[in-house]
């Protein structure tokens, strides 16, 4: 269960409201690198957690924290929209600065929300929940979480850099610090699991995979040359799982692979007749020429 105290996690102040920065902040709320994503991701990982209970507990704590982040960011959006222009009227359009601000705004802040935040990104694209990764595999989920916090911290740094409002910089300095922590905590789980967590999932026996290709870096260049491998940790040496040995490999069709042939179409799938023509021995017409025949299928 969940509870609130109706307060923000941190104080939010904006000295110079900027409606364009309000639009930028939407990315941190409803962007794929944003807070709704991590909040819901950690919740769904927790709610489906199987195995040691400590992981559910950890995820629940941090997921709950993230609601507070969405909350204060939404407050920051609303405060940046104070005094925003809501008209296109002539005297405003003639003013290049006011006009530019209006044009750079998210119009839905005027039209849909009446100067508040909503769960979309800086381009107004609504967040969609397909971005919630909760695989049922704790190691896979931890990598998803580090990825989310790495892109999230990068976003927060870019927002910090974009503004010169002291209140906004203070808020983002807090976000950046929390993203630091969250990166570290998910990585700590992986450290604790040790290198035997690799490859993910570690519950599939590697003897069942096609081991010939498990540590080969495929070189797909048309000149079929290995080239200079210097400084490329992924073509020689021991792999991060501690037992694989990297090697370069000139890629090409493996033994037995040729051009696929799906044969003629079935008449009852309603391609063109030319696709369903067959020779006496059942092969597709190479070029639809006359010695192939077509058998009508719809009779009823």
């Amino acid at each position: 269960m969940y509870y609130t105290d109706k307060k923000l996690q941190i104080p939010i102040t904006v000295e110079k409201p900027n409606p364009v920065f309000a639009r930028m902040l939407q990315q941190a709320i409803g962007g794929v690198e944003g807070e709704i994503r991590v909040c819901m991701q950690y919740f769904f990982q927790a709610w489906g957690s199987r195995g040691p209970a400590k992981y559910r507990d950890m995820l629940l704590n941090t997921a709950t924290e993230e609601i507070s982040h969405i909350e204060f960011l939404s407050t920051a959006v609303a405060l940046n929209l104070e005094k925003a222009p809501v008209k296109l009227q002539e005297e405003i359009s003639a003013d290049p600065i006011a006009g530019a601000v209006l044009n750079g705004m998210d119009m839905r802040h005027i039209l849909s929300t009446g100067l508040s935040a909503y769960p979309g990104d800086a381009n107004g694209v609504p967040f969609d929940m397909s971005h919630i990764y909760a695989s049922g595999n704790i190691a896979g989920d931890m990598y998803c979480n580090v990825a989310a916090e790495a892109t999230g911290r990068t976003l927060a740094c870019r927002l910090y850099n974009a503004t010169d409002d002291p209140g906004m910089k203070r808020m983002l300095a807090f976000n950046i610090a929390r993203d630091t922590m969250h990166q570290q905590q998910w990585l700590a789980v992986l450290e604790e699991l040790g290198p035997t967590h690799l490859p993910v999932p570690n519950s599939f026996p590697q003897s069942k995979e096609n081991e010939e290709y498990s540590y080969k870096f495929f070189i797909q260049t048309v000149d079929k040359q290995v080239g200079n491998q210097e400084g490329q940790a992924w073509t020689s040496g021991t792999a991060p799982d501690g037992h694989g040995k990297f090697e370069p490999f000139i890629a090409g069709p493996l033994e037995g692979a040729g051009e696929p042939n799906l044969g003629p179409g079935r008449p009852d799938t309603f391609g063109q007749k030319e696709q369903a023509m067959v020779s006496p021995n059942g092969t597709a017409a190479a070029n639809g020429s006359g010695k192939y025949t077509y058998v009508e299928t719809v009779k009823a």
Copy 2:
């Protein structure tokens, strides 16, 4: 530039075509854990790559490989759809096994593609490109890539487990092996970068973040107790970046944080009048009572 030899990367055979397995395989093509995602993700990371050229080269090789994976999986879908029922007619519906197969199929394999693959997942949801993470930060991108390959390998293992067709198991053993490699190669980049790649991005000076909270695990439980921290790598010890020190922290509103107050609504944003009523000193009406006033805004 890109080139083809029209061949598959590996031979694809299906002994017992199974239209329900064709539907399952769609997840590996157009699911968020699937091959279109990694293909496009690595391409966009490569095409926007700045800094050392070796990363662009590495990404291009693997992105190019992934097209071949989409190709042979699509072939596998088509082969599993050979002999699929395409009618609901009575004699079929009365047959529980044939009927069950039809009901478990992706109907769009009948209706939209004529028994071929398409870029959607096992539920028919089309892949959308918001899942392509290319942040311009090589470390963040590598974590995104490990995450993609970890969920991808988990998916491939589940597919391997779901089928008993020997040809399909052979194909998936290859996919699993390549996912092993791809996990390792992205992790090798991170290893090569060393622990100073953390926190991501490492180009933002940590002195600018709110360092008081950079390594504190926030405990959000209502009982405000630290509880048993045993076996929790994320509440004590050194953080994976090698310099942070983890500590538990009972979360609560930080100093100065209170209940936010956005004040009364502006009349020209068209909330209800009751929201825009103000007292003589400009505060919002607590309960819309009568001593507050509303000023009309629409005049033109």
Copy 3:
């Protein structure tokens, strides 16, 4: 800020796990009538709330409650997936009951989550946040909320009816009761605001709208007959706002309305030449005939 006690709001038990019911329950989690929607909708309404503080408080309480609902429904999904088939192997396919169950499952419960819930609907369509209505108008928002709870309670009743598992019926009886309350509480706000809350928004002066058509029911039938109006509360009598008078009206183009004419296309928008041909007096070519001329636009 938000807190958790790691417990469920209500006890969840499943006597006879049913993977198809797990799929149905997804609608209550990630469907448009589901709990993520109301949770996020109430939160965003609260976080952008302007005017009397009591509305923010009310919304926060109920939004916070809804997280608990998503949580216990997710637990119910996981419990219904215990013992789910995860293989298509021959012996299972030959069993009509097990096969039917497998075919009726959400394949992503096997492939993507490892037998847990995710934020999508009963067809696997991920929830998208465009469904979060937070208009900045308290009356409009209340109607959105009643709508959400009315469709939500209908969904819960259908789920209650669909299952015969006693634990699931108990859970849904709780959901239905809470949906009853939530309908009532949003309606209570509207009652409290009184009929002057209509039309929404009440801050736009009705004198500015085209009052001639404010209470006319437009009859769009091709026979242009008013027909039998008996028992139709919307064509006569006083409107719910207490002052409008309903009347039927035979719809047709209002005075001055004709067929629109956008004229010829501009050559620099790259329609076909025939669309951009103009007569000497600047009108579009009626039928692209010869007396019209086209002026080339691309010169650089």
Copy 4:
């Protein structure tokens, strides 16, 4: 069946074409508060209508009217795009006013439509049909419709306020009037049904819901205090359905609710091994320690 007379419903004129206002108008066409939504919503409610025929008739009339609204709004978009800049060339970029206009435009009005409307919102997000609510329950649908018209009228008021073009104000005054009517007519149905339409659906016997919680306002604050309930219509008094009695309730886990335990993962779902380890009595490993065992699952 449906018919047209090729005319607009009302005359549309634009004195001062404004491409940024064209972008704003897109919200009224393809936004979630817009006309495509109500048009399609009323049609699907009508086409699936069961029970008294008068509701189907009412819905059909208004749905048909809404097509005309989309039509004249699309015409208004095209007229506002007359004379829009379609180039970024240097002399234009150097002109702050022309440049600002271009930057505030929807680029797809230049690139995709050649200066006409399309079914997306003011941010270019295409309308998606998941917003069509047609629940098969007439009362639920009426609330959905009031909600749509309330947010729609709010949008129209904001658009009216944003422009100073007399023709556009005239058009929007008509839209606002029709939204007034449409709100009233859906509310009239609810009035006609009387308070026994509540709770929706009224066909589920309230005796089957968990009546203990049907009229309790859950207070989710961490301090577990009821607080000041003054002026809160939702915590005391009779509920809008005429028989429920509101009461405040300090929320907490109900009797029997504890921390959920989904147990260890099944090996054949490919979480990490650590998640699937079980003690001799079948419980999950608390912390993955050594006395737990893992049984391999992939054998074939």
Copy 5:
């Protein structure tokens, strides 16, 4: 403006209601090959039509017809859902035939609509309006329309083939006939425009395109061989526009094309430091080695 007579365009009867066929029919309503798509596509093309008025008129007539198609298909869905199972209760699950039907249904027909149609496809994916192609170019739009009707007629044929209900076959025979007409009418516009409508748009002077490559078929095979061109209308002869001459061309980087180099990252975009390191002459670090330097960017 638009009008209705409340009647269906054709009589709809269903002898043997089949809920799985109801799901299949959804593809014809809300699938990308379905009727909502053509209806809205023709409307938006009409509403933005510039140039000869006859095209607007033609499009309006057919768009208006398509509403009637959505209407009768929706009725057909509802009729096929008569008697559908709405429970998962034990006695039903034990019945392989009834169970199979339930499992093959669209669960939202039970849960969301109460046995009626909705604007989604056979997999429950809601239609989204990005599929409405209205380019402002009449020739381009006609090809889009032929494409829509070609895939639409193919879908209708597959549905005809899938059912053995005589009423449904009658309905679909009408749909197929209308799709025949609609294909022909859009093609008739293109015929009337003559071969000078090519290439689309014909308003861009071909002298401005890179004419060297306007009629060359690029061969992208890795063996750089032209191969057997027999029976390939696209590698020799006159092109359909009547003036181009097809030729094969071995593709490769054109003169001057090399490996792109985007240089080092800007520090203020927050890639990793290693990406932003520059040598004294400003080039990126090849491998991040020590002689390159990084300049801190965040100072405020």
Copy 6:
């Protein structure tokens, strides 16, 4: 299989980087008229190709070419973002030109990618794969491809017109030329197939369609007049398939079509009681009046 040489297909240069043009170019990458769409569309058509092998080969060549187009466009986006403003700081906002540029940018170029391209359109809407049309019918697919290249070439012409950068004009002149070729090659396939490819699919016998309506242009106007048919190739003469004869037809409900009646709702679908009331003879209550009865359904 696929290969790369790491080079671009053509040299890309940008003299005057323009971040707003970078945003416009996104439409050519991730817009519905863009290169990802054609690339993936041709690949999926090829990978599911049945019938004569030459079509698979043709499609593979062109699909492979299109990857190179996405690549160089992405490079062009990155080059146009060189020197883009990434801050909103006061001195910049006060500068109307720099401010206008920033406001017209895609904010995700700053926030999400660090000045590189991503797979979304000019409004930031991510490309979704539902736009990949691969119907299994070669003729239908060819029309889809012509449609894609016609809208694609129109887009490229508009982009050419929008910029005055010589390097960008050179790049787009190449794109326009290739779009010319691609239009021609798909049309060449249709020419080669001859007029018997119509109507698509040609494998459904026209005798099974409702031939009475196969070549009638339905006139849906409310005045039921044929009107002036002059210059309308679609109302008289021979249809493009060479055998149909066009005729105008005043549309109206066909024989037997009336107002549909779905009857009363089933109580177990949880509409309102009023919808489920039935008279003794089983018809729905016309107006919900008292002589109709409702039978409770929920008993368990």
